[in-house]
């Protein structure tokens, strides 16, 4: 097991270097974006551009630039410098992380707490009106794009532009440490919107997974033992049905930690996604690079965690 984890981590590092190489190539080598020109501004003279190029090390051969880039990231945790904010990118991302983290964790909590029970009930009450209603609703939410859902939610419930002034609207985000109550209030609507699709997906996933498991022989054994149907489902059924959920959950959370771009955009939440959108608007390449890298790291780490979790969830999985 330990050997497996070490091997897996090493592969993660290899993968990370590959991602760094790809981002480097996309942002440094494509002719449309020359950081020096962007940085020099509209009236940048060739002389200024040349100076900036020298400053940024753009006059070195590509492999030297790549080496410096990798060295900075890995050895110094230095993701570069944003010319727009005049701040190190690493610090900017770190500042935005709490908002993204708040949004993601809250939404994930919500979609698990709602989606899983709905899935279980749908599976138990299969083909009843309740099941069909739940799955029909789920289909609507699976199909609804989050930016559309977000705008509708604001239009209906936001306390500024909404028809019913229930929740704080866009741009109301406050840090948890600043004011926990306002933090909670401001995130309620984004949580619901962000979790809507996932709730629906998880409900469908749990339903399908549980239905499949309930047909297994060992469920018949559990019933023949004299277990109550409740324990048959929740203990024996869900124990197996939960496994595919873990894969999806790990990757979903990791994906959102890289920036819930649409939700953060609609609700104007200062998270990594928002930082990314703004950076694209400003042509702030180093930030985009930084956020892409951070998002990749989250995905790589989540993959490793999911694999490790599998070994604990299913004793048949042995990584030797």
């Amino acid at each position: 097991m330990t050997g497996f984890i070490i091997r897996r981590l090493l592969w993660g590092v290899v993968l990370l270097i590959a991602v760094i190489a790809v981002t480097f190539m996309i942002f440094y080598l494509l002719p449309s974006v020359n950081p020096a020109i962007l940085r020099a501004g509209r009236n940048g003279s060739p002389k200024i551009i040349a100076e900036i190029s020298k400053d940024l090390g753009l006059n070195h051969p590509i492999y030297v630039q790549f080496w410096n880039y990798i060295k900075n990231i890995i050895l110094h945790g230095n993701f570069g410098y944003s010319y727009y904010y005049n701040d190190p990118v690493g610090g900017l991302i770190a500042n935005r992380l709490p908002a993204t983290l708040s949004l993601t964790v809250g939404a994930a909590f919500l979609w698990i707490v709602v989606g899983v029970p709905v899935g279980i009930i749908s599976a138990i009450k299969r083909r009843t009106l309740l099941d069909r209603a739940a799955m029909g609703t789920a289909l609507v939410f699976v199909s609804a794009p989050v930016f559309w859902l977000g705008l509708i939610a604001l239009y209906v419930f936001a306390n500024d532009i909404g028809q019913f002034h229930v929740f704080p609207g866009a741009g109301s985000y406050v840090g948890l440490t600043v004011n926990p109550l306002k933090w909670f209030e401001s995130l309620l609507l984004p949580w619901m919107v962000l979790s809507a699709t996932s709730t629906a997906i998880y409900a469908r996933l749990v339903r399908g997974s549980l239905l499949q498991v309930m047909g297994e022989d060992y469920i018949r054994t559990a019933r023949a033992k004299g277990l109550s149907e409740r324990r048959v489902i929740l203990k024996h059924g869900m124990r197996s049905a939960i496994t595919p959920l873990v894969t999806v959950l790990g990757l979903d959370i990791a994906g959102l930690l890289g920036g819930a771009i649409l939700t953060e955009g609609v609700f104007d939440i200062p998270g990594i996604g928002r930082l990314n959108i703004d950076a694209i608007g400003h042509g702030d390449v180093t930030i985009v690079q930084g956020t892409v890298l951070v998002a990749s790291i989250f995905i790589i780490v989540a993959n490793i965690l999911v694999d490790i979790a599998y070994a604990f969830l299913d004793p048949r999985v042995r990584y030797e």
């Binding site: 022989d217 060992y218 054994t221 559990a222 019933r223 033992k225 124990r239 197996s240 299913d314 048949r316």
Partner: protein, 370 residues
């Protein structure tokens, strides 16, 4: 309905029918079967796949109703009708007074729980016993069913057990509450022949040691020959022959039973006797044949057999005990036919011997009718 049971009877099944409504029509999985299991006795229920034997057994535990089955009749167990008692009462009987083991030990244990934990759970559902005490008992049970090194094995997962070991573990689990009745549904079918023999011997030993009754469900007459006191042969959801084990093997009375006997290889039978498969397939349980359900596959069927439905009635053999069969042939015909078959004759020769020469419904044609 009365809940009076004959003295000595543990389980009395009366006119039990199980139907599953489907889009294609009603599946008559079990059609009015009756049998009795005495305390500490063992019976065999024998039939092909799809004869309704497993459904009948699962129904005893109330495990078919959850699948939408319509169950009628009466199942008296120790003075209670299992079809009318509450769910809670039935659950108290399941795994406690009636335990069941299944065909495929590979898939019957939960792959994600330790073997010991599954046995402990079975105990703790039905009795107040500490986890530690239940674990100690689980180790004893594993030892009882012949699992070596039970102290180590108790903490292993099912995938770390071989097929035979898993069936032993299932047996250990089923015995954990000292049931009065053990239902074994094809317990050896998925196992190697040598392991089969071990498991059968184990079941037989445990049954005697613990004084429990057993229902052995199988498609293999060879299996029940060793351990059943009485055998019910099922075909298309009905019992077509019912007898003590000895007379059933020495003078079987139903052509289907003949077919089953002639399709199993024996070491001590006459040399050069060909194994004869029963032609055709079991009938649709939705659109069943008219008359005798077996007539489309029966080598001895007369035209009238496609219209008359034979009741299960006493065959009137002397010294044969309670021996019943549902066959339209008369006793002399049956005796002559079986004598010819036993001597290695083909069904055609047996038919001649029994004096059934002409007007036989050709098997292939009858199948279309069925």
């Amino acid at each position: 309905m009365s809940t009076e049971q004959p003295a000595g009877a543990l389980l009395s099944v009366e006119n039990l029918s199980v139907q599953f409504p489907t889009h294609d029509g009603v599946v008559h999985a079990v059609d009015g079967i009756s049998y009795t299991v005495d305390r500490a006795a063992s019976i065999g229920i024998v039939g092909e796949s799809g004869s309704g034997k497993t459904v009948a057994a699962l129904t005893l535990l109330g495990l078919t109703v959850t699948q939408g089955a319509i169950v009628t009749g009466q199942i008296l167990f120790d003075g209670r009708d299992l079809l009318t008692i509450s769910k809670a009462e039935l659950r108290h009987i399941r795994g406690n007074e009636i335990a069941m083991i299944f065909q495929d030990p590979l898939s019957s244990l939960h792959p994600q729980f330790r073997v010991g934990a599954q046995i402990v759970e079975a105990m703790r559902i039905h009795r107040s016993i500490t986890r530690a005490a239940a674990r100690t008992r689980a180790i004893e049970l594993l030892e009882l069913v012949g699992i070596p090194d039970p102290r180590r094995r108790v903490d292993q997962y099912p995938h770390e057990f071989s097929g035979g070991m898993r069936q032993r573990a299932m047996i250990a689990m089923s015995l954990s509450n000292e049931p009065k009745l053990l239902i074994a549904d094809e317990p050896t079918t998925a196992l190697d022949v040598t392991v089969q023999a071990q498991i059968l011997a184990l079941l037989e030993r445990l049954r005697h040691e613990l004084g429990m009754a057993m229902i052995m469900i199988t498609h293999d007459l060879g299996v029940v020959a060793q351990i059943a006191d009485r055998i019910n042969v099922m075909y298309a959801g009905r019992i077509v022959e019912s007898a003590e084990a000895r007379p059933l093997f020495s003078s079987p009375q139903h052509p289907y039973t003949w077919g089953l006997l002639r399709s199993i290889p024996t070491l001590d039978g006459p040399r050069g006797v060909e194994l004869l498969p029963i032609p055709g397939r079991p009938p649709s349980m939705i659109r069943r044949p008219t008359g005798c359900f077996f007539h489309p596959r029966c080598a001895y069927a007369l035209p009238s057999h496609s219209t008359i439905d034979p009741p299960l009635s006493d065959v009137g053999l002397e010294g044969g005990g309670d021996h019943r069969a549902a066959c339209l042939l008369d006793a002399a015909q049956r005796q002559a036919a079986w004598a010819a078959l036993k001597g290695g004759g083909t069904p055609e020769q047996a038919r001649v011997a029994a004096g059934i020469e002409q007007d036989v419904v050709p098997v292939a044609e009858a199948e279309i009718v069925g």
